[in-house]
Symmetry: C2
Subunit: 458 residues, 2 copies
């Protein structure tokens, strides 16, 4: 009995049209990664279990796809563990490999393993799929691509300046001119917590503040109180709830607010350096916004925090983000390696481009010229011409069988081929070929000896 | 205690240099896939277990990487199975997904699932990794890429003609002019077995014959006898052991030999059509050899069988292969779908190009121009110029920190940057920049107002 085929939930097949569109985005990102001096690496889909476990929190550990050991895997389980019949204790005994969960941990592992071959500063990019056993839902998949660029080594803020330019370059090439780049700095967040006297509640404070847009001021205050932050501290933070003006104006206000916090002032200075440099470089075509509510994996970033919001016309979460982290590789034994990096959200960028109708039409064109098949003699002559076209980089093809012309024309229509060439018996005898322009509906006859004329007109 | 990081055996990290070289090959293959009218699809890394199991024989089933179910997977195992403590019966209870083993079965699954969206003939290509729990050894990996192109639908032999042209186009672009394309036909093999009276020993006969090159005539005959093929039959097959001459001469000899086998003659006719057409199309720049010992997955192919041997200077197995199979999708319930396809062996092509020194030098160049960092003022001016260069598609970068010039120059050397630009205090004051040609060792001064002069000379 034949199976009714299906694919695992949360995974996707990509049709030619979808692959072309995804590649359009990926190629654009890759182009600018390269122009900005980044180099590609690739790491295996599977990593050793101990490389991944414990790096993403308890929830992360659960969502990592584990690979069953090969062969008679049960034989290696001791009786005590086996008799417990407990999935959690059994897992490490029957699985020692797992699918990568992101590109950051494999990258850290790569840097440590290959530290002697790497010239620092190491600018790497990596575009590969990752897997998460998350509950699938709209826009959330169990297999998806990450597109990351990171610089490892130097602490220079020029890196941040360049990453923002890079975001600008990619999104303007994709015609997404209305994106907004939000900036914050972990040190500013620390400074705020210090100034209001809630140093021990830094995480709770920022997690609550992060929701300002969604749940409003009063709910944020309620949550802060709920977490044990004193009303006095919350009152002190009030000015931050309505920070307005240009980036520079906001930074001035923050400077005042944080005047008694060394670390806070440091954070403001870093942001000021970035904004001033971008102004001087005339790279403010992208809207840049200082956003003190931006936290993004607070426990991970140590300096700049960045996030890209899609154009306001589209209701969707961030389409990119990143920041600076001061200890990328410590977990693998290499101390004091600072990094800064960004990521592009391929799936969301795809949805945004689709919603705004921004995919260029030409990327759907998988064939430039189709030759109708009238039989073997005619086909042979067609293939001679096709060879010539292909040598000129033109995507040309012969319909493989001598079936009804209507069927062949329908195929040409479905594949949206702009030109159909006909070499029937008559054309063969007269040394000619007929080109049908499928858009205009016109026909034109050329001489077989002079295909260059047709090529030049394509 | 920090972990000493490692990766699973049989898997690989790819450095920037290796990725660039792999992409050089992949991009060349993809270019011609497109020019020949193929369209890309992508399928998920993981497939449902029942999509994969039973498709690759017992050995294949064993080598498929299984993914452990998420959550409390043990809870779903019945007590009877659990108490058996048998890996083989436990596996299907705790794992319902697996990593794809090749691209052909997922493709067949794709065609059946999407048959209503597909316009046949469907020409698809697919370049993605596959995973096999094989014992790792030199040149054999547990994760490797397959690069496949197939046409589904028509039975026309023009497809075979085109695939051979495609092989020729890719390998000559890679400067691998001395490859040899071996051709055979399953029907010829059937005919031979019929003529010599060993119809029931077709597989044993071809498996033995396949080893002629490696073990020699006498050992082949011994193996055939061992498998129960009568000496009388083997004697009849003798002429095949020393088939020589041009492709056409060999086909004439085969025609004689197979004159009493309908199916055998059909196979010869098919091969003759392919050779004649390639001659007429002047596409015999690649050496094409008729090889009746070529079998390649005999139970799979039903017509043409193709294989590409590397240039003789390199001792290595085939770098590509393919053929026609008459029932691609029957296992998933879609009958009478004929297919023909080829595959490129990325890893082996890589080794061949490396051994013959055929990778173009320019693909190693990850940066065109490096700017030395002399401090923030100078860096800002440098970034203005870098912006201009990048807008022109030039890979340019600023060394992120104002460290010792020697260190920065060493970095430039290690990354093999052809040009280093210096804007120090003096240059800044005089509105100039100095370009050092790292190959020639010469220096030249340009005006900051006129960067186009430098760009035009790059």
């Amino acid at each position: 009995m034949p199976q009714k085929p299906a694919i695992p939930k949360g995974t996707r097949d990509f049709s030619p049209r979808e692959v072309a569109r995804r590649n359009y985005i990926i190629d654009t990102i890759r182009k600018y990664f390269r122009i900005y001096g980044f180099m590609p690496i690739e790491t295996p889909a599977m990593e050793n279990m101990d490389t991944l476990m414990g790096k993403y929190g308890e929830e992360g550990d659960r969502l990592i796809f584990k690979i069953l050991n090969s062969g008679d895997f049960i034989r290696k389980v001791d009786d005590f563990t086996y008799s417990s019949k407990d999935s959690r204790s059994l897992t490490p005994k029957i699985s020692d490999k797992a699918l990568r969960y992101d590109l950051t941990v494999p990258f850290a592992r790569y840097v440590v393993m290959h530290q002697n071959e790497i010239d620092f500063p190491f600018k790497r990019y990596q575009i590969q799929p990752v897997w998460r056993a998350d509950r699938p839902q709209k826009g959330r998949f169990r297999e998806f691509y990450q597109c990351d660029a990171d610089v490892v080594g130097p602490r220079s803020l020029w890196q941040e300046v360049e990453f923002i330019q890079l975001y600008g370059a990619v999104f303007s090439e994709l015609k997404l001119n209305d994106v907004q780049i939000k900036l914050n700095n972990r040190k500013v967040l620390s400074g705020i917590a210090e100034v209001i006297g809630a140093k021990n509640h830094l995480v709770d404070f920022t997690v609550a503040l992060d929701k300002l847009d969604k749940i409003g001021r009063e709910a944020v205050i309620a949550e802060m109180q709920d977490k044990g932050i004193k009303m006095e501290a919350i009152e002190k933070a009030r000015p931050l709830f309505s920070l307005s003006g240009s980036a520079m104006e906001k930074l001035d206000k923050l400077d005042d607010f944080l005047s008694h916090s060394e670390i806070g002032k440091e954070g403001v200075e870093e942001l000021r350096f970035i904004i001033t440099s971008l102004d001087a470089l005339d790279s403010r075509d992208t809207r840049i916004e200082i956003d003190v509510t931006l936290a993004r994996g607070l426990n991970y970033y140590t300096g700049t925090i960045m996030e890209v919001a899609p154009p306001e016309a589209v209701a969707m979460g961030s389409i990119g983000g990143g920041g600076r982290y001061d200890d990328l590789t410590g977990i693998f034994g290499l101390k004091d390696v600072s990094g800064v990096g960004i990521s592009f959200g391929l799936d969301r960028i795809y949805l945004v481009l689709e919603e705004l109708g921004l995919f260029p039409e030409e990327i759907d064109q998988t064939l430039d010229v189709l030759f109708i098949n009238f039989g073997n003699q005619e086909a042979l002559q067609s293939l001679k011409l096709i060879k010539k076209l292909r040598n000129n980089g033109i995507k040309a093809d012969l319909y493989p069988q001598n079936t009804k012309i209507q069927k062949q024309m329908k195929y040409a229509n479905n594949r949206q081929v702009p030109y159909v060439v006909m070499i029937g018996e008559e054309e063969l005898n007269q040394g000619q070929f007929v080109v049908k322009d499928m858009v205009k509906g016109t026909q034109k006859t050329y001489q077989l000896q002079d295909p260059d004329l047709f090529i030049s007109e394509l």
